[in-house]
Symmetry: C2
Subunit: 137 residues, 2 copies
DNA sequence: TCCTAAATAATAATTATTCTTATTTATATC
DNA sequence: GATATAAATAAGAATAATTATTATTTAGGA
């Protein structure tokens, strides 16, 4: 709930309007699971039947640009979304239920000096661990 | 060239036929760049004009199942393919030209004990560094 | 050389996502 | 509170990557 109010402020400050569709999407995004646009759409239309999938996508992009949510691609070709955590971090993602556990460290910190001697200008990195969470294993 | 002969043996042993299309695809796959199915298709049809894109995809899947090639997804929604290296390893991928530099270490080795105490059964992991290679920066 | 299962080309279908357009609405201003 | 307007929306069409279908061709063993 705290998160959602935060988001509303961020949206307002960025000049976006607070529409019922956006509020429903923010509600749907709460929860640990990384959800696809379609899953989020289903949740949203259970409360707000006429919201189009296009609106979900459009707003997911906006929320992403504002760093409110984060996108990840697993093995299948769908994108999945979740509230960003405030800090930079990585996850262990359950390949069965899709839930994720945040890691309390970043491997880049550990290996920085190992790659500094290579002539490659690093701009970003990606680290994810896959497996089964305690419920699914 | 060594690699290609290897692949032919692997394909034969697995009961696959050695077709000119497959040979052309293997030729096209040599080179450091991670290439999309479409890029590979273009190379193939420059020598073998009637090969269909479908054939490229079908054979990429086969080569992947045999661990001959590896698939990666960058930011865009296309898959990219490259010969697997024999050992398990990770890459620094250039976001401009798509070339990749192999890392000589795996971060999982460094952090194993950090995650063993979490109740999560690890089956796989993904680690990639993005940036600009020496030619592109 | 011939037979047969596997592979192929061509094309249609599918899936996730994005675009177009006409309509509706949140909000700033009166 | 009414209203003007730019932004947001719904509906449906379009796109892009990939996969499925089917009739035809071919690699490789008998």
């Amino acid at each position: 709930m705290k998160k959602q109010n935060n988001c509303i402020d961020i949206l307002k400050k960025a000049g976006y309007k607070i529409t019922p569709q956006r509020l429903e999407l923010l509600k749907a995004l709460s929860g640990e699971k990384m959800q696809t646009a379609e899953e989020l759409h289903k949740i949203v239309i259970s409360n707000q039947p006429n919201v189009s999938l296009d609106t979900i996508y459009r707003n997911l992009h906006i929320l992403q640009q504002l760093n409110i949510i984060t996108e990840t691609k697993l093995g299948d070709s769908k994108s999945r979304f979740k509230f960003s955590s405030n800090e930079h971090n990585h996850h262990m993602v359950c390949i069965k239920c899709g839930c994720s556990v945040e890691l309390d460290f970043c491997p880049m910190e550990l290996i920085k000096d190992k790659i500094n001697n290579k002539k490659f200008k690093v701009t970003d990195h990606n680290f994810e661990i896959f497996g089964y969470c305690s419920n699914c294993s």
